[in-house]
Symmetry: C2
Subunit: 339 residues, 2 copies
Amino acid sequence: MFGSLGVGCWEFEFVTALLQQVRRTIRRHDLCPAGTRLLVALSGGSDSVALTLILRELAPTNGFVLAGLAHFNHHLRPTADRDEQFCRALAVRLELPIVVGGVDVREYADAERIGIEEAARRARYAFLHRSAADLKADRIAIGHTRDDQAETFLLKLIRGAGLTGLGGIYPQRGDVIRPLIEASRAELREYLEGAGQTWVEDDTNTDLKNPRNRIRHRVLPELNLAAGADTTNAIARAAGLARDDSQWLDELADRRFSALAREAPHGLDIDAAALEEEPSPVQRRVLLKGLRMVGNGREIGLEHVESALGVAAGLSGGADVPGGRVELRRGKLVLLRRE
Amino acid sequence: MFGSLGVGCWEFEFVTALLQQVRRTIRRHDLCPAGTRLLVALSGGSDSVALTLILRELAPTNGFVLAGLAHFNHHLRPTADRDEQFCRALAVRLELPIVVGGVDVREYADAERIGIEEAARRARYAFLHRSAADLKADRIAIGHTRDDQAETFLLKLIRGAGLTGLGGIYPQRGDVIRPLIEASRAELREYLEGAGQTWVEDDTNTDLKNPRNRIRHRVLPELNLAAGADTTNAIARAAGLARDDSQWLDELADRRFSALAREAPHGLDIDAAALEEEPSPVQRRVLLKGLRMVGNGREIGLEHVESALGVAAGLSGGADVPGGRVELRRGKLVLLRRE
């Protein structure tokens, strides 16, 4: 009796702490203003099942409403239909409306000439926005966790994303919100187990050929051993701080860009002397923005920004950049658009 | 004949490219102004042996002089004396003066009540500065590579160093310079092998209980597999960009600190309304600086900065911080020093 009472207390405290943490995330980032109608994206995995249960618990006392669930069937995995059935059954049990949709992602990818992953992402988000409109929901809640945050940070890091920011996943982007972004996957599973709630496992999550899976199953465990502790918290914090830093530097650079750059028939002119006086984080971002405008959607890398900086400083007479060329003419850094 | 000629050409191009890269690092960061007399820190490992050979090659045509070498014997490893002999022999062969010194690091650590690693670092740098004075050298060159840069970035990341910067290793700090910071260890070893130059291996580098070794031998190889390529370049670039961003934000925050903070008998007063108007990267850095002054050398974490921010925003009446307390009094954020 005593033992089970003890466990009960501990469990109660654990659940209370988890709910409080999610509520803090929601409040700090103003994810659910009063009266918000939320659609929850439900894959059937532990993260999105926990998200559904937690938001259902928080809704009555926190001024928002669960408008319903949305499940997107990618028709990619062998378990796709089992997952759909699981989500339908959960919706019935929770007495929540559910929208189920899906496309053949492989077909979609071929038609749009994009990769499978990007195709799945686009099709999924398009479906979620349609479902939100159907259920008259203002915002879409997605079950990204602190673990996803750490994984995304490391993925961006190794892909050389230093220039466009290591910031990782935003708690909010448009009408998409991520209330679990400060919660850990292990805690969410513990919560589900305590509540007697099952979930479906995604078998493709174990394929180490997928970079994210390798980071999840190999890199992070080794980092935890190096630190002698769970590192997702430290990494997610660093991601949050990097995001804040670069978000503000981006805003500042946007203002400086407006002051320094002039559109021209040939592309863009930038006042080279004034650019030189800016601090280097602003210089790089102003040039990145300019090169992106001239490049017309082409990928701009750090090496292009650095060569444009070299031209601005008079170290080289000119440099080819994606979709154009950079030259220094009478104190102006000229970004020429190639036809 | 043809084959060996081909290899010779390739080798020549490889060496030329490596030397050019190091020269570019030296020039970009102005590591060796004209007439600089350099002391090279030589452990006998591949990095410092390559550094010695490369700087000796670059000196005549790049306006600096190799004043000599310095080897510090930590008396910690079983191979310590073998390493010292190796360095002495190399100095003789290269006809360069060498200063050899050492202390019993374990004894020093006990006397100063610090860890072995920190004791080794302090004793080594003190020795290098004395040696530089002896050889009338202005700067001390250290063989840190891009790999060290990537390892340091990951170490800082998992230790939660987001607040004080993920920037990693600086190309220059005071009179210490790092000309190899953009070169890879593998390239340096290839260079030494091509030149028929041996080096000593540090057996302690394989002990996985050491966090840096685990990052080197386990984390980075897994990251390379996830990326399908060597990731040290991407990580080192991100470290460089993060360093530039945070260096400038630090300078900006220092200026804002001078405008917003006033020393007081009880500690420090900060204008809360003016602080509120600053962007969050500046707010955090201003508070970090203030809390550090009041904390008098105690470790300040993100959680302390966040609770001080909470007090400033009126979310809580006050908060205890290391070595003091933060309160809001008549529009002033008061940082009280505890006696």
